[in-house]
Every structure is written in C-alpha cells, then in structure tokens.
C-alpha cells in the first residue's frame, strides 16, 4: 500500500490496451494498464487488503484464459465484471449477508472516530469501506465506478453492460444510501 497524499493517476478508458500480435504481449499490456484499476476495484468492492493481491491475480488469471474472448476496447468491462465476481466469492467467505443491516451501521456509528480523527486518512478509509460494506454489491459497483473511479454514467453502463437508466437509478440509490449513513455518522459524532 502506498501512503502518498496525492491521488494516484487513474487509467482512463482511452488508454485501453491496443490490439497486439501475441496473447502474451496483450496480457502484459492489460496487466500494465489495468493492474491498479483492478486492485482498487477489488478493494472498494470489499476485498480486504491482505487478499487484494491474490484476488487481483485471480482476475488476471481469468483474463489470461479468456483473452481471445475479450473484445478490443472492452477490457475494463471484462476485468471489472470478473473482479465483481471474485470480490463476491471472496467476501462470501468472510462476511455473511446478514451483516448488511442497520445493526452493522449502529456498530459503525459506535466505532467511528470524530471529525478530527477523520484527518487520519487511513482510518477514514476504513470507515469508508465499512459504509460501502452496508451497500448491496450492485449498488456498490456503480457507486465505486462513479464516485471513486470517476467514470461517467455512460462508461459505467458500458462497463457493467447495463441500460443507462439502470445505472442512473442505482447510482441515485447508492448515493442516497451513502449520504444517509454519513448523516447518521455526523449525528453521532
């Protein structure tokens, strides 16, 4: 993990891997350009940091096997969809769905540091993850891509292979859920 204070540069969609002569080169390019994206996505989809490397490896392993089927220009879509599945599998082993209720949020409120302490970004991130943890994965995916990866809704629609309307409604619901939880935190702080 890097402790840089500057936000890391994001890989923009137009930087997507170009067609290459050999699968090895293509995989390498995919890895070079999308590694950070995949790793970050897995983290924000709930994969603990300790497991993030392994989960990332798993995503690229799937990609390497399915390389011939990944359309040029659709690499991120494929990788994110794969990351979503792997995050889901990983999380299934860690937490039960039942934790995603108000009880979890109450627990969160109890343990959340005050605004001053939030300056500690590492703790802030832990709180962020726990808020995200209270979201359904499908809302969470849209939320992460929009709010953190800064994709446009159109890009998200392409990435998740969803109708634009669905993206918009999921984003709206996700933002409402996020804001509601944050409001509870603020009330408790």
């Amino acid at each position: 993990m890097q402790e840089a204070t500057q936000p890391q540069p994001r890989v923009e969609p137009h930087e997507i891997v170009q067609e290459s002569s050999t699968p090895e080169v293509r995989l390498r390019q995919l890895f070079d350009t999308q590694f950070d994206f995949v790793w970050r996505s897995l983290r924000r989809l709930g994969v603990p940091e300790l497991l993030a490397d392994d989960a990332t490896q798993e995503v690229f392993l799937v990609a390497s096997r399915r390389l011939a089927d990944i359309e040029i220009g659709r690499e991120r879509s494929f990788l994110f969809a794969t990351a979503l599945r792997i995050a889901s599998t990983t999380r299934r082993g860690i937490a039960r769905r039942g934790d995603h209720d108000d009880q979890a949020v109450d627990l969160l409120v109890d343990q959340t540091p005050g605004p001053d302490e939030l300056a500690d970004r590492q703790r802030a991130r832990a709180v962020l993850d726990r808020i995200l943890e209270t979201m359904d994965l499908e809302l969470r995916a849209v939320f992460v891509l929009y709010e953190l990866e800064e994709m446009t809704m159109a890009e998200i629609a392409v990435t998740l292979e969803l109708p634009p309307g669905t993206v918009a409604s999921r984003l709206r619901r996700a933002r409402e859920a996020f804001q509601a939880t944050v409001s509870r935190l603020r009330g408790a702080a």
Binding site: L50, Q57, T82, P164
Partner: protein, 317 residues
Amino acid sequence: MSSPRRLKDEDGIGATLLRSAADDGPGASSRRAVAAALGLAAIAHGTTTAAAAASTAPAATAPVAGTTATVTAATTAPAAVIASKAGISIAAKLIVGLTLATGVGVGVAVQANREPARSAAVVLPAEAVHRADTAPPARVAVTAPTVAADPVPTVPVPTVPTVPVPTVPLPMEPVVPAVRVGSEPHAQRTTAPTTTAPTTTAPTTTAPTTTVEPSTGAGARVEEAVPTTPSLADEVAVLDAALVALRDHHTASALRLLDQYDRRFPAGTLASEAAVARIEALVAAGNRDRARALATKFLAAHGTSPLAQRVRTLTEP
C-alpha cells in the same frame, strides 16, 4: 442522463471519506508479486514464454529422488484439468491427485469411509460458482446456485484445445462423497483465491503462461484474515495448493503451505496426506535426514496405511 456532482468534490465527512480512498492503491511490490505469479515477469525481461512454460511443465528432470515423485508431477496436472473440466470440486481433484500420487485406488475409499455419514449432495457452492466462472470450459455441469448480483459477461465460451487424457482411471464417482460440507451448518466457506487458483493452471490450458506460484505468502495471509471454522474444503484448498507447488518444484512454498496446513488443521482429515506431502517436499528440498525422520514417525503410526508404501519409496536410500 444528467451526471450529479461527485460527492468527493463536496464538503463534509462523506467527501473526506471518499477522498481517503485515493490513498489506497497497490504498492510496487504487489504489482511485482502478481506479475511474477502470472508468469509475466519473464515476458518483461524479454525471455520467451517457453522458459516460463518450462517451469510449469511437469518436467521429467524433477529434482526428486526416485521415480514416483515424477509420476506424481506428470499425472496430477492432467487430472486437475479433467476434474476442473468436469466441474468437480477441488476436493475431488485433490483426492484424484492424491490417489494418483499414491498409486493406490484405496486412498479414495479411505477418504470416503472416514466420513460415511456426511452429506454428499453439497458441492461447495462458492467454489462451484467460482469454477463455473473461471474454468475455461464454462459448459461444466455445475449449477451456479445464487449469484444474482454477478453480471456474467456475454463473452462467448472458448473452446478448449485437446487436453491429454491420462490413461489412469479416474475414480471420480467415489470421490465426491468424501467432501464434508454439510456437517457444520455455520461453517463458512473460505475460498481463498490463491489457494484454489493453482489447480486451474495445469500446463494444458489456453493461457499463455499462467504459472501460479503459491509462494506469495497468500495462504498465510488468508489464514490470518479469515478466521472461520475449518472445513474439509479449507483443508483441501491448502493441501491442494501445497501439492501444486510441489509439482511445480516450488519446494519452499510447498513447505510453507504445509506448515500452514498443520497450524490450521492440527487434527485434519487429510493430515496423513499432508504428512506424506511434507516428506516428499523435504526429499525434493534435499533434506533427506528430516524426511527420513518424519517417514519413520509416519510409518510407526500408519504402517498399514495405503500411503505407507509411498513413504517407503520416497525415503529409500
């Protein structure tokens, strides 16, 4: 579709929280480790993929005394492929592998008998789904139970090139009942990505060079991060990873994984198999004295085990 302003550009706690995510990224060591595990390091250094492939191939020049270990290396890989093609759980693959390794079919029977009353119907939901997702031939017969949230890419299913079928009869049918899943209602399935990954990377898949080397310490980290009731599936995952490491001549990794196995499952169902794997790993590592000491201990306790003959063969002078 109108795009709302991003929350992190606003004020307040929510924005602070969201901005904190910017710090979180993989370090250079993560990138290196994963690249190495994927076999991409070789490409980066201009080495041809043949070199990387050679490391995964069950080489006949295994640095293992005796011939049996080579047999193991040569047979377990295709068996894993076949098992994964058939959608059989990793447990089945392991036991197939072990059976081949021991060269005795009774290994399976022993496993099956050890857990006679266990439910045979449950086939590790998480792993089954996982396998359906990742195994190249996605037409496996596994019915993915409930993964509503997972969007399945509409990518066409690749056809897998011919896989060399080992002539050894694969005792798949009697294998599945040995899986102990239904016994613990609260048992959480912990499908650690890495521990399962290696088995899918037999040298015959379409992947260019997917050497998964389970030495990234992943197993150990899984153990610390996911404290759950150990189940047979967990045992299998760790032991399977160790066997794959052994097969690929990553002896140190194999020993680490076996250490992990012993720590997590002190009274494990597959403890004997783990013990034999350790002896084999020690032989491979050139630590024959330690191997012989363990072999003596093993034979004293399990002299009549189907694994005993293998232990004797391994540690023959």
